[in-house]
């Protein structure tokens, strides 16, 4: 039982991590509280649903569509929503409100198109493997496998490549980055695309696993934000680790407390961290890097 809950926790934690790392990527470099990240996630799930169910196309095509549309929405948000605000140097609250507006528009647009009722993408039960008393579905294995590929690649991107270093420079000091001649517009666009793609992947996994609802983005983006804070703002891997932790705590808490309290527990965890360790789990590491 406990082992099963741990496995489930790792799987939901891995999906949260995809969201959280995308959110952290955007948050660390732009300082925008990017609520619309949840809109990208939801749109991805619904695109998958529409292509599979409405157009009867095979799953790989649907996945391609879902990721493409996520990226396009991400670009639209950056170019039409955030960039004009950034160039007018408005306060961070203005970005947040704008982001909230975008989220509401996308969420309710999807309600108008598909209705407010949850939709399933795959009706037949998922293929599952049994190891002793432990059951793990093929989808869940894919989730973990994907994360094991995506996160090391991201790490390589930031540690080794030129663009990764430029993004780190931009995150540390945007004005200095501009002065030394970095093309900040293109970097912001690149970050947006990366973040949107990650949210898109998360949306696909959740869609395949439990189906889609128009409000699914809220939980996803709020958990991502919580994970970013718990995992120390400014430290990308921290967001992923914290997301995993949130997934585990949520699933293991079922042992003691009924499942509908999961949301409350997540935010309780956030408040505990904010009170006792506001710099997050990895606060010391950031301090020692001097950032």
């Amino acid at each position: 039982m406990v082992l099963q809950l741990i496995v489930n926790g790792v799987v939901s934690g891995a999906i949260y991590a995809l969201m959280a790392v995308g959110f952290a990527l955007i948050y660390n470099s732009t300082h925008i509280f990017h609520l619309a990240h949840g809109a990208v996630f939801t749109l991805s799930g619904y695109t998958l649903y529409f292509v599979v169910k409405g157009m009867n196309l095979p799953l790989p095509v649907a996945i391609l569509f879902a990721i493409t549309l996520s990226i396009l929405l991400g670009i639209a948000i950056e170019v039409r929503g955030y960039r004009p605000l950034r160039e007018r140097k408005v306060s961070l609250a203005a970005f947040l409100i704008s982001s909230l507006g975008i989220f509401i528009v996308v969420e309710n647009g999807l309600i108008l198109l598909f209705g407010a009722i949850p939709k399933l993408i795959t009706e037949e039960p998922l293929k599952a493997y049994q190891i002793g008393s432990l059951v793990i579905t093929q989808l869940h294995m894919t989730v973990i496998l994907c994360c094991l590929i995506i996160f090391p690649l991201l790490h390589l991107l930031f540690a080794k490549t030129r663009v990764g270093k430029m993004i780190r420079a931009l995150s540390d000091h945007p004005e200095l980055a501009l002065i030394i001649g970095l093309e900040t517009r293109r970097l912001y666009l690149f970050i947006t695309i990366l973040g949107a793609a990650l949210a898109g992947v998360a949306g696909i996994f959740v869609g395949l696993d439990v189906g889609v609802t128009p409000i699914m983005g809220w939980d996803a983006v709020l958990i991502a934000a919580v994970a970013v804070i718990i995992g120390s703002v400014g430290y990308l891997p921290g967001a992923g680790v914290a997301a995993l932790l949130v997934g585990l705590v949520q699933n293991l808490s079922v042992l003691k407390i009924s499942a509908q309290w999961q949301g409350t527990i997540t935010f309780g965890l956030l408040i505990l961290f904010l009170v006792f360790r506001p710099k997050g789990i990895f606060g010391k590491m950031i301090a020692s890097r001097g950032a």
Binding site: H31, F33, G81, P84, L85, V90, S91, L92, A93, A94, F95, L96, I97, S98, L100, G101, I102, F103, I104, V105, E107, N108, G109, I111, L112, A116, W218, L222, A225, V226, I229, S258, Q260, W261, G263, T264, T266, F267, G268, L270, I271, L274, V275, P278
Partner: protein
């Protein structure tokens, strides 16, 4: 005519709610997405005091206000040590926790079934049951609240708040204890939100947790932003516009199942539009 009274009563309740949020967002520069939580604390506490202990309307309004102020003070002390974004997320987390409690603490709040049978208010010994009576009482309370908040904001206290909003460090240098001011503002704002909650409960006489969810908080923020941050008149104007807007949709014969999403989408577009082109709202003075 009863319908017009109903809309006016709603406006009275929401004016208190939006003005109370404007003290935070528009006058002190604290962006809070938890006003509906305090609204809900007021509504539920007031109803439960009436239903379980048989307290009268006035006692069952006063105690929740004090309770909400106390919770506001604790929340402020916990969250204000943190910088801007942390504050926003922590307060948002508080909203989600209160929503969770209202939905899931079934033995007290009856969860998704909601509360009903809440008593009517009485005023000068007369029990109020007609819409006109409600309008009279709530109109008075609403005016009084507006007056108190207005008085507070034009006082030296209010000027310090605006100074904090414009430049925290400069205000600190002038020897003002910023945290002290912010905590008081948070308490006042929460108290008025709870007052609005109690009025809501005793008008509808039934409660459902959905009225106090995150989307309600977003609606209140939307009204404040559109009306104008930092302008109490703007909040009144915004309230009138956004309370009447769904009613206008009803007259356009839009089917009832698509009306709410259309309305929400419109609000979303308004938020984006105002941030891009008019961050101070319709008549506000502070660009968020």
């Amino acid at each position: 005519m009863d319908y017009v009274f109903h809309l006016l009563i709603l406006i009275c309740i929401y004016v208190i709610l939006t003005v109370s949020l404007n003290i935070l967002v528009g006058f002190t520069g604290l962006f809070s997405l938890a006003q509906a939580a305090f609204f809900g604390i007021g509504a539920y506490a007031s109803s439960l005091l009436g239903l379980k202990l048989g307290l009268s309307f006035w006692a069952a309004t006063g105690i929740p206000i004090l309770l909400a102020m106390l919770i506001g003070i604790v929340l402020a002390l916990v969250t204000l040590r943190l910088g801007g974004d942390y504050f926003i997320l922590a307060v948002l987390g508080f909203q989600m926790m209160i929503s969770g409690v209202l939905y899931n603490w079934v033995s007290v709040t009856r969860g998704p079934f909601g509360l009903y049978g809440i008593s009517n208010p009485s005023f000068l010994g007369i029990s109020i049951s007609s819409n006109l009576g409600y309008l009279f009482l709530y109109g008075l309370i609403s005016l009084a609240s507006y007056g108190i908040i207005h008085r507070l904001l034009v006082s030296p206290f209010g000027r310090v708040l605006k100074a904090i909003r414009e430049d925290e460090i400069a205000t600190l240098v002038l020897g003002k204890n910023i945290v002290h001011y912010k905590v008081i503002v948070f308490a006042i704002s929460s108290g008025f939100a709870a007052l609005a909650g109690s009025l809501h409960a005793h008008y509808f006489t039934t409660l459902h947790p959905v009225s106090f969810s995150l989307s309600e908080s977003i609606l209140i923020v939307t009204i404040v932003i559109i009306g104008g941050s930092g302008s109490l008149k703007g909040s009144v104007l915004g309230t009138i516009l956004l309370i009447l807007f769904p009613e206008a949709l009803r007259f356009l014969n839009i089917p009832s199942e698509v009306a709410p999403p259309i309305q929400q989408m419109f609000y979303g577009f308004l938020l984006i539009f105002f941030m891009l082109f008019r961050p101070q709202g319709l008549v506000g003075e502070y660009k968020v």
